[in-house]
Amino acid sequence: MIDLLAAADEALDGLKAVGAGLGYGLAAIGPGVGIGLVVGNAITAMARQPESAGMVRTTMFLGIAFTEALALIGFVVFILLNFA
């Protein structure tokens, strides 16, 4: 009985790790799409108005960083699920 409980506990830990990894991966998909949109539109803007490239790149960098924050939240959830 004790062996069975230990095995179940181990399986639960494994499932927790798999869930954390899956959650992290899924959380990275949205920001990946978002960064693609941000950079794609920034490149379009730079092609249309090369003189405003500096401003566009500034906004693009901040947009990328804000989008990346979503992935970082997924990353933190991964850390907490795995180690807390």
């Binding site: 992290y24 990275a28 920001p31 990946g32 960064i35 693609g36 941000v38 950079v39 794609g40 490149i43 730079m46 092609a47 500096g54 401003m55 790149r57 500034t58 906004t59 960098f61 901040l62 990328i64 960083a65 804000f66 990346e68 924050a69 992935a71 970082l72 939240i73 990353f75 933190v76 991964f78 850390i79 907490l80 795995n82 180690f83 807390a84």
Partner: protein, 160 residues
């Protein structure tokens, strides 16, 4: 040598920063961040103890490194071509996330590792620095004359 005089305003403008805005933004963020970090580490120490403070310091270092890596990569790619910029932004995102994961997993067995302060620090420092910087950048984009780097000389003239 990088500074040229803006004839309309009569004060120096850093042309290098115009060519490489990412570096300017990250330099600003690091400067502001370095002023707040000691306070955050103190709060972490008071709430979570030494382990928490060390983990928070590690989290701040990770976020700083992440910003620097992003800026260097995008600046380098922007010099090559728009396609390289797209490539660097997307694959840079994946590579940096992977590097962050490896960096955290590498210290997870060390005694001082505390996941809660580390996680809180990562989110708070990333978003906090961004929001703080965005306030200045928005102001600079809307009213270039009011940008923080342009304020000091003009202010002294107005006082006269």
């Amino acid at each position: 040598m990088n500074e040229i005089m803006d004839r309309r305003h009569g004060h120096p403008v850093d042309s290098q920063q115009d060519d490489e805005p990412e570096k300017g933004i990250v330099a600003d963020m690091l400067l502001r961040g370095s002023k707040v970090v000691p306070l955050w580490l103190l709060v972490s120490f008071l709430v979570w103890g030494w382990d928490g403070a060390l983990s928070a310091a590690y989290g701040v270092a990770l976020i700083f490194a992440n910003f620097v890596a992003a800026a260097l990569l995008l600046t380098w790619a922007a010099r090559i071509s728009p396609a390289a910029l797209m490539f660097a932004a997307l694959f840079g995102f994946l590579v940096r996330l992977g590097a962050l994961t490896v960096a955290v997993l590498a210290v997870s067995k060390i005694s001082f590792f505390a996941p809660v302060p580390l996680g809180v620090t990562i989110i708070v420092s990333h978003l906090g620095l961004l929001v703080w910087e965005t306030r200045y950048v928005s102001l600079s984009l809307a009213y270039p004359g009011l940008g923080p780097s342009n304020m000091t000389p003009k202010k002294s003239k107005e006082i006269k």
